[in-house]
């Protein structure tokens, strides 16, 4: 029985690994077939997927719904902008090296306050803190550029090995940056997979499912939630760090509550009960938003309607719906 279970589990892991490898292969060869604009969109999609992956460690695995993850994304973006302004070197590795500790420290600080509460109060606190960060970015304009934001020029990649200037610089940058982000994305996915399947991840899920029982087992709930918050904020912050050179500019918009809403939406769209949900959500959302923004000025309204409908009729998201459909088909066959 036990061996059977183990065998079936390892088989499903194998299947998943095969699917992931296939997916990766598609992502690797795609740039040969599409134009620059589509590649830009793909990069945005990968970045959104990283942000949502981080967010989902809290929502899907710890059961904490944050309405303020824009803060960590924005802190990542602004840290890069400050590095450019004060320290000089235009190297992506340098941005990441400075950016990640900065985001981790801020997530640890804010998380320490937020995880004292769960459910509603957690949501309120995260939203409130992100709005404070937003208002600071807006009001301390002599440092942050106010609503104009801060410019971030194209960085060099791989310790200055690849630099982009000249007439075809932009195109080359996008192509190289695509593979760069893809590599970071793969590292993030693997890392998150390891985290949620580690004893630490299992503990988070135990806390999510039954807090009281977990406490009786001697688990220090608040500390686990705090670390989950820290990891989650850092992943989302890394997405912000990667986003800024692509966008070329960071404005307070990425700190505003609507941006947190987009992150929540992304995870929900893909399905927050699945590991792959936020990844699919990030990709689909990026395209959805691009076309919604192009077709109507009131895309926020459209997103709201889709969000409410999703929660009402499709609470497990795209991935959840597909896997349910797959299960039904498999059962029908056998």
């Amino acid at each position: 029985m036990n061996a059977d279970l183990k065998a079936s589990r390892s088989r499903s892991v194998l299947k998943l690994a095969a699917a992931a490898a296939l997916m990766l292969l598609v992502l690797i060869v795609i740039p040969a077939f599409v134009e620059v604009y589509q590649m830009q969109l793909l990069i945005y999609g990968l970045i959104a997927a990283i942000a949502a992956l981080g967010f989902n460690l809290l929502l899907g695995y710890t059961g904490l719904l944050s309405f303020g993850h824009s803060a960590y994304f924005g802190i990542g973006a602004y840290t890069v902008a400050f590095v450019v302004q004060y320290l000089g070197p235009h190297s992506m590795e340098f941005y990441i090296l400075i950016g990640i500790p900065a985001v981790a420290i801020m997530s640890a600080l804010f998380g320490y306050i937020c995880v004292r509460h769960t459910q509603i109060f957690f949501g309120i606190l995260t939203l409130a803190i992100s709005q404070v960060v937003y208002s600071l970015a807006l009001k301390l304009y002599w440092e942050t550029g106010g609503s104009d934001g801060l410019r971030v020029p194209r960085p060099t990649l791989l310790l200055g090995w690849l630099s982009f200037s000249g007439p075809r610089g932009f195109q080359q940058f996008i192509t190289s940056y695509y593979y760069y982000v893809l590599a970071v994305f793969v590292v993030c996915v693997v890392l998150m997979w390891v985290i949620v399947h580690s004893p630490f991840g299992k503990t988070l899920q135990a806390i999510r499912d039954n807090e009281i029982r977990a406490r009786f087992l001697g688990i220090r709930i608040r500390r686990f939630r705090w670390i989950a918050f820290l990891v989650s904020g850092t992943f989302t912050g890394l997405a912000g760090i990667l986003w800024v050179p692509l966008n070329g500019l960071t404005t307070p918009d990425v700190l505003y509550w609507t941006f947190s809403g987009e992150i929540v939406f992304t995870a929900l769209l893909g399905g927050f009960r699945n590991f792959t949900g936020p990844i699919v959500g990030g990709m689909v959302f990026t395209y959805l938003k691009t076309y919604a923004v192009a077709s109507t000025e009131y895309w926020q309204l459209l997103l709201g309607v889709v969000l409410v409908t999703l929660v009402l009729v499709l609470p497990t998201g795209i991935v959840g719906a597909i896997s349910k459909l797959g299960q039904r088909l498999a059962r029908g066959k056998s």
Binding site: F121, Q131, G261, Y298, L301, G304, V305, V308, L312
Partner: protein, 292 residues
Amino acid sequence: MAILTIQILNSLLYASVLFLIAAGLSLIFGVMRIVNLAHGSLYAVGAYVTAWLVGRGIALGVPLKWLFLLLPVGALSVALIGMVIEPLLLRPFYRRAEEYQLLVTFGLIQILEDMMRLIWGGTPLSADTLMDALPIIHVGGLFYPAYNLVVIGVGVIAAVVLWAGIYHTKFGVMLRATSQDRRMASALGLNVGLVYVSAFGIGCFMAGLGGAIVVPTQAAVLGMGIDALIIAFVVVVIGGLGSLKGALIGAVVVSFVRTAGIQFFPELELAVLYLIAALVLLVRPTGLFGTA
């Protein structure tokens, strides 16, 4: 001295609006155990509807005195919106995990905020005719609009009516019974669905009233709903969610701190408020009067 008096009056004005918003939020939570994230947006809808109605009234040549009647009309329209939202969108979620309730009301924010942009556009909508219709009084050599005193009065009346309604009427008993034990109340023959819809309607009415009375003093702008929601959260965090007394005291504390903040440290005014809220949370996690 006169400046101090005016600052105190300004704080009370702000406290009265804040109380209306926070008390509505608290009442809805107390009875239904649901946090309506779209509460601030409903307050903004109240402001927009009232300003729009007043503008229409002026265009049609309605006498000034009658225009004041449009304030409760604005509040009532928000109550009606609330009474549509509750059975349609919230009722399916009482049995489901709390995350879904938060997600639905979050989606509602997005919808309401963009609806306001769609209907009224990006330009601020003002109803200052009402404020100008009332005389300006002298406070120790300085001028102060009498309308602001009306706002303070409305806040006080609302607090008294709400308190009397909850603690001294039969409907109040029904509300409290439902909030304490929904199933027991239902077993004793209470129509819980009706209680919910009226509690939500009353909460929305308070938010709408807040928006309606504030709009003659400051124009309705996009984004005011979110700002109000955040400040209302600070109020309920300090006072305790689900408590009427908490909403009142939290509103007074927040508005005095904010007035002082704008006077002495304008950049950090919001940060100081959150610092206070964070301190209260660390010392008394349920707020000063909270039960949740």
